[in-house]
Symmetry: C2
Subunit: 428 residues, 2 copies
């Protein structure tokens, strides 16, 4: 058992500050749990001048990441700069010089995990990334250990707090996407360039990571179907509520006979489902296993201290491995090569909102096109709009994606149809 | 890395069957994750004649637990008979003969954990008990690892599926406790003698276990305040709904300056809280840490396969420890000796339903007694009952338990008061 385990941190932004704060504030209790003191030996960031909400001995600060990577006394490197470059080089260098690594970097693990994780295994080093999904919510480790006896059939969740905040505001305040985005930006819940969140990139990285662990097969993030929330309107949220649903940006991974279906898109979630009640910046991840049935993990999906909690949990786990000579105790488990299935394998109910001319037989004409492609209808609502238009809202029964696509293409071509306001899949 | 790790199972009832089923059905995927095949070497039960929903080679079955305990080839013993005796002797014997132990036995861990867990630590053996709380829901291991960087401030949850099922039925069907209990018994969700569930013993064991881990200090289960759900009426559930609450049997552990407050009692839970939406046999455990904020774990709290999932998760964790020479990697963490605080330290809002004579000034008389003991009132509802009686429902502001008790004693003595129908604490 080592007296001291030295930590080096690369990135002194939101997550880095959260981890440092926790390591300092809870140092005594952590030391008792680990059997060694965890000491912050070095903190690297390009900006070491700006004040941070935690006090660190200035002599620990450096602008050179290699002061961390090349320090032979550092046992565990924490990479919390984000992005692929130069994070991947730093992590490789750390592993190759015998260090263990904790990262919160979802983009890197999603894109380069297939290289980095086997490298760590070969070198008998730990590479942990609990903070990459769900902020402080335990999900990676429960999947890898507590639920490891199960065949996991499905993982789905609300894994992006920004979009969930925007959708919640749109519903509660009856405001548009652009207004809700503006408010989220003002309050610091959305970036100036919101694309990573609102277009579903962030969620795609996260669900690729979860799918890889759940199905023991690497999910190729480039093959994850992705649709964001820019097209969702306040009307859609109102109709959803009326029909008994909440609208959520869901990240979904399902194990099917032929492979895995991994996708990110807005979805109607029945109010009877626990995910429908996850609001604001909260995240929740729902897992279905062949033995455990349904379990859900809920909490703050972002924020300095929540992400710091996950990073420090990983550090503690690695420190225990160091102290028992058991590093790389749980390695990469991507044993299989399951195909990534396209959307043509998806079959679901659908909500469709159509703006059409308010003329006789419009409803019949649209219904006929649905019928032509064997999409059967569960319910229809129609209301008048100004300018002799009608808004017609359809809830279909379960239909294969190709049928839906063909039906919508045909409906779009109908002369009486002005446009399809929205089409949102129902996730039952 | 061992080719084979041998498992011996004591208890071939609900949980034992679930674990055996999973070990057999998912054997290949488990072997890949562990690096060794997990082989069921022996299964002991007093009844080996009755058919089980899983096929086991009859030569593995024995009525003698010592055929498991004394088999030198068995690495991991699974104790799933429940109860204190003889389970504690079996577990001691297993540990002392060098075996690791997995148990689902909440009563035993709550009552004898203070002896068994240090014994396992001293012998460098693993003693794991994830299935003892929340069935298949990962909670023990997340507290011990993922959230270990936090000071845990609070753990509370719905940890007994039987009572949650009964309360849900009472609400949904508007039926009495005794009718809902009868239905639960018919459907196999409640025992013939329901005391362990409905009087809160089961929940008390579980919250004592969670408190011990969360606060790194052994919670004495005998000092857990305990109140069951027998006195809850359909009216209480109706008023709760009207006032914006759900009624749940909560197990609550809070870290206060002076020590820990650990208790089990029915509670009004605001509908805005995620625990309010946990219905039927589902369990959910809510954790608040000083860094992670609020996280919640949700799922099936009981059942053969869900509990089997937790047992097999523990087996996999131990097998990985065996293969890396890291057994007892995470030992007992009860470092402190925090006092168990009595109910006099609790302060909360309260719902009180009083049956009184329908006379002038009754309401004023009761209100005066609340005021005498400095219990201030948030809202009052009054309705007529037959026989010139009135039912008066009070929601108090937060009040210390001793003030509430004194006020209720004084109100009970008022000549116009027939009886206090119920008093339920609000858990905000």
């Amino acid at each position: 058992m080592k007296d001291v385990i030295n930590i080096g941190i690369i990135g002194f932004g939101t997550v880095g500050v959260g981890a440092v704060k926790l390591l300092l504030e809870n140092a005594d209790s952590i030391a008792r749990k680990v059997g060694s003191r965890l000491v912050i030996k070095r903190v690297a960031d390009l900006d070491i001048a700006s004040p941070r909400p935690v006090a660190v001995d200035p002599s620990l600060l450096t602008t050179n990441a290699y002061d961390v990577l090349d320090d032979p006394e550092i046992d565990i490197v924490v990479e919390v700069i984000g992005g692929v470059k130069p994070a991947d080089d730093y992590i490789k260098r750390a592993l190759e010089s015998g260090k263990h690594v904790v990262t919160a970097n979802k983009e890197l693990i999603a894109k380069e995990g297939s290289e980095l994780l086997p490298l760590a295994s070969r070198l008998k080093r730990d590479l942990m990334f609990e903070a990459s999904v769900g902020g402080g919510i335990p999900i990676i480790r429960p999947l890898k250990t507590c639920l490891a006896g199960n065949e996991i059939l499905e993982v789905k969740g609300i894994v992006n707090g920004t979009t969930n905040y925007i959708l919640t505001q749109m519903k509660d305040e009856g405001i548009s996407f652009s207004e809700a985005l503006r408010q989220a930006q003002e309050r610091g819940y959305a970036e100036a360039d919101p694309s990573s969140d609102v277009d579903g990139h962030d969620a795609a990285y996260k669900i690729a990571i979860l799918a890889s662990i759940a199905f023991t097969s690497r999910a190729d993030v480039a093959a994850v179907y992705r649709e964001g929330i820019r097209e969702i309107s306040a009307e859609d949220l109102r109709y959803a509520d009326q029909l008994g649903f909440a609208v959520k940006l869901l990240a979904i991974a399902k194990r099917l006979n032929e492979g895995m279906s991994v996708r990110v898109h807005p979805a109607f979630v029945p109010k009877s489902h626990p995910l429908a009640h996850v609001n604001g910046v909260y995240n929740a991840i729902f897992v279905r296993g062949n033995a455990v049935g349904e379990v859900m993990f809920f909490g703050r999906g972002a924020g300095s201290e929540a992400a710091g909690s996950a990073v420090v949990g990983d550090i503690i786990d690695i420190a225990r491995n160091i102290n028992t000579g058991a590093t790389a105790r749980v390695s990469c488990t991507c044993f299989d090569k399951l195909p990534m299935l396209g959307m043509e394998n998806v079959s679901c109910r659908n909500y469709v909102r159509i703006i059409a001319e308010d003329k006789p037989r419009v409803l019949a004409a649209i219904a006929a096109e649905f019928a032509n492609y064997e999409v059967s209808i569960q319910s229809v609502l129609q209301r008048m709009l100004p300018d002799s238009c009608a808004e017609i809202v359809w809830l279909t029964h379960e239909a294969p994606e190709p049928s839906m696509k063909a039906a919508l293409d045909a409906i779009r071509r109908l002369p009486v149809v002005k446009h399809i306001g929205s089409r949102i899949r129902v996730e039952d």
